[in-house]
Symmetry: C2
Subunit: 231 residues, 2 copies
Amino acid sequence: MPEALSLPEVPRPNDVTSQEYAYRRLRHALMIGAIAPGRALTIRGLAEAVGVSPTPVREALRRLSSENALHVLENRRIVVPEMTTQRFEELIAMRCCIEAHAAERALPYMSDVKIDELEMLDARIDSAFEANDLEASTTLNHRFHKEIHATNPTPVALPMIESLWLQLGPFLRVAAGYAQEYYTVDRHKEILTALRKRDAIALAIAMESDIRDGVGRLGRTALRRILGEAA
Amino acid sequence: MPEALSLPEVPRPNDVTSQEYAYRRLRHALMIGAIAPGRALTIRGLAEAVGVSPTPVREALRRLSSENALHVLENRRIVVPEMTTQRFEELIAMRCCIEAHAAERALPYMSDVKIDELEMLDARIDSAFEANDLEASTTLNHRFHKEIHATNPTPVALPMIESLWLQLGPFLRVAAGYAQEYYTVDRHKEILTALRKRDAIALAIAMESDIRDGVGRLGRTALRRILGEAA
DNA sequence: TGGATCAAATTGTGATCACAAAATGCAGTT
DNA sequence: AACTGCATTTTGTGATCACAATTTGATCCA
């Protein structure tokens, strides 16, 4: 019998369907790395954990699978995907590609008050970081990026970016566990500077640096150690 | 009562689930533009059209929604998204961004025999194009691009690219209907030349030109006319 | 003619059940 | 101790049913 799965609580407004609620619970758990790569998920197990019947859970699982946050094996068993060097490198490269693109397109719509708000958000990220609060730091970092990309409302880019975050999520906690000190040079400051100057090229570079230095460096060292141990 | 929905047939191997089959039927229909933007889809209607019960259809619909090929309104009604100038421009720009990226990364893995195969595929596209066979021409064009991107097996990029095709699909037939003569300069030749030279920059440029000149130009004129008529 | 009202039909949602396939656990054998 | 064979349990799948919300369409009134 698999150990019971506990999903972090998530607020449930009155009008959300069971399917949507199951989706949010599971998605949030994956996003903050609460479920380890390789973990197998059963429909009935999730149904019990969330407190709904199997039917809405199945729909939630299909959604997550389509976002590539879950993987359905040929056995039809559903698992959190394992991370490999190749996949990790691809995810980071794709994040750079799309997020630089999205940031550049958002730049013309960026206002000074918006940049002020981003600066305040960055301060909160620093606090969460110093407090070693991985969940808050991850969530706030996502919000920082999302606020930038969503300045120009982009129905196309945002879902793709969030899918990439979701795919990196489960690996985050693993990576953080392997890095003795997971600090990052604060590239957000460079992003903010580029925004203030309305410098598209500097913005793209800063965005790429932030991604590669943050998750990128963290994950690479973690992967090296994991693979090293396995060998 | 809404007019009955007829979905193009799709082969059904013995071991595919009803849910997967419903997904494939609907996805293919959307991809080749067989369902018009704005069309509302009902679960029971689809279940009857596909010949399964509502349950697997619901899962298929969730998958397509997560790929942004369908849109769930607040009424919980599910519709094929309408195309707007902004969304169209975004989809094309995103295709350029990701497909150029993917093609560049595939380039080092490209063999001469593979390029030969692509050349033969391109010839078939020309034939389908001259025969005014929109479905075949669309399918083969997708295959041409997919063969390039999948040269380096990319579990990350491919699903995102296909999601973009899927979002453009329903609009394709509309666009083709508005263009009196939908011909395109054959940019595939430029792509092939860049591949043979192993020229990454030329490849990215050719890829972008192909996308913008093909669907891009076609859609832009169509949108202009549609919006012109509406005004 | 245009708009409000209300009953009937339609639709999405979620739980339950039955079934088949796969995984699991336990003997028994070598 | 390791492997095989078989019964049991677990698991995914799909159909059906009940229920609530929405939509539809006809009727009535101004």
